[in-house]
Symmetry: C2
Subunit: 332 residues, 2 copies
DNA sequence: TTGTAGGCGTTATCAA
DNA sequence: TTGATAACGCCTACAA
């Protein structure tokens, strides 16, 4: 390939008949009162003429600042992470920092995806175990979201435990005495915490049974597992899902078994994805403050806060949104 | 903040009692027969002791190679792009190149997101108009996917036009004479092409009407628009959707209007998202070869191909997957 | 108001 | 087998 090498600031300087430093001054916008308007204009014209683009690697080396942070998430396609990303990006924008994303897991369940090694100022991980990220990100400023508070570095959380307790209380309050619990088949602090919270809340309600089931996020898996859970004599009368996608599969499984929601089966999701309002009936689900979490993460990473301190202060609140998918259990 | 500066290869060299170049040789793995095993071991030990991580900006500057490419997509959360990303990442892995992603659009419809300026070897854009990307990515190797073939640079496509024609033929073949068409309210070559293909195919079937409607990807919008489309006397008997998410909203709107799918209304989606198999009935939809497109994009970007040549050869085939959401129209 | 010079951390060439 | 040295392109203190 030809790959003609790109023009450098030196080339621009020669074209404009000035020195390299003048070019740098003008193009960085820091020329006020240091370079004459005429010279500045000449420089700008030459830069444009040559289609000059500064070499970002050189700039990053010199400035010890890349202008980019990485958002590391389990998967791309969960809208929760989409909203998280928005929060991160909007907040980073204020600091004149760009954001790129990288998912760790393959959509089709085929092994972990490779992490990019690249020029960065910092990393925000979400819902990922520190063991995964710690070694690779060594030496970078790092904020973990929705992760174990014991981790080195800053950690910000949502109150997922409280959320799960709300969900359980809602169902028990409706009269349910046998709950199906669809857990994510992935090792992560967030899911362990949810599990512990559910067990803890159930301890307060003697006589309420829990039937657990774990599933990957592969749609086919989910449906199979939920159908197994429901296709028994003493089936649960309510389904507690760690993800709205699980709930979607629950709807399908229920339909296939001739169960109607919420008359025969109540369903509670988690995330409040846009999907939740398109289901029939609309899904009762736990809303997580994704965007706010993202903003907070950026402030912790780029704001005045010291890194290295564990922040296990007040987690962001979560809210149970009650819609049409939950009702008292059928009479028996 | 303290921000103790990270150790450099120079520090490692001093700790190991060797020169910087020896360190570079050893750590880059290119020391076979050039450095003694004892020295190499000493270097490795010092590097580990200091927790040395090479400065990637410096390396990129020196090597004129970043080891990373950017995948630029409209939104993160559409699973189509998740699978595209997998194809890109797996293929890039072969070239020892990392991949980061950046979406251009906000999940909530609030204006475009800022692009990151960062150290890269190249960019792959998908389903994005060249006007958006061209100026910002100036000077980078660039491959466009699912985009207008007239663009400067390499372009690879899927045969979305043929796919839409398949969908129309399927519906017309079932006997439908009035089709509702839910178009994406976004300016992009891919959607214009789909539109043109639908019109073209309809020209071959006189007597078949088309009722168009445009919608953003915001769930609330979609439902509203589809309901408007269906809540009339001479409503279409089939819905042709440019996205499976539109189809989901179609299911909901149909349910709310008391229409049953497919008896009263047939629905055809596009993308074959995992969601398609969880709907009741399962969704007839156009499958797009996302992963394959991603792989092809990487080969065009990093493989032996010359850049700068427009590749408008054979587009990747698309396949209509017929499931339960399409049937003959109701008798009138 | 403009130019000179030095160095950021790395890799590669070449001499020892 | 190893080490000195130069260069990648940029920014900035300081000199002119």
């Amino acid at each position: 390939m030809p790959e003609r090498s790109r023009p450098t600031s030196h080339d621009v300087a020669r074209a404009a008949g000035v020195s390299q430093s003048t070019v740098s001054l003008v193009l960085s916008g820091r020329w006020a009162g240091r370079v004459s308007e005429a010279t500045a204009e000449r420089v700008r014209r030459s830069a444009e003429g040559l289609a000059y683009q500064p070499n970002l690697a050189a700039r990053a080396l010199r400035l010890e600042r890349a202008g980019t942070i990485l958002l590391l998430v389990p998967v791309l396609t969960n809208p929760f992470f989409g909203h998280l990303h928005m929060g991160v990006t909007r907040a980073a924008e204020q600091h004149e920092i760009g954001v790129v994303v990288c998912p760790l897991q393959a959509e089709d369940g085929s092994g972990p995806l490779p992490l990019p090694r690249q020029v960065l100022d910092g990393v925000i991980t979400c819902s990922i175990d520190d063991t995964v990220s710690a070694d690779h990100l060594h030496g970078l400023r790092w904020v973990a979201l929705d992760s174990a508070p014991a981790t080195t570095g800053t950690v910000l959380n949502m109150d997922v435990a409280d959320g799960m307790r709300q969900s359980v209380r809602h169902l028990v309050g409706l009269g349910h005495r046998r709950l199906g619990y669809i857990r994510a088949d992935r090792t992560a602090w967030t899911f362990e915490t949810r599990y512990a919270a559910v067990l803890e809340e159930l301890d307060r309600h003697p006589g309420v049974d829990l039937v657990e089931m774990r599933s990957t996020f592969l749609m086919a898996d989910i449906k199979t597992h939920i159908t197994e859970l429901l296709d028994v004599d003493d089936r649960p009368t309510a389904l507690l899902c760690e993800d709205d996608n699980f709930a979607l599969a629950g709807y399908r499984a229920a339909h296939d078994l001739g169960l109607s929601i919420p008359a025969d089966l109540s369903v509670v999701g988690c995330d409040d994805l846009p999907l939740a309002r398109l289901l029939t009936p609309e899904l009762t689900t736990l809303r997580l403050p994704a965007e706010e979490l993202g903003r907070a993460g950026v402030e912790a990473l780029l704001g005045g806060q010291p890194t290295g301190a564990v922040h296990d202060g007040v987690p962001l609140p979560t809210t149970l949104i009650v819609r049409g998918s939950t009702a008292p259990p059928p009479p028996r």
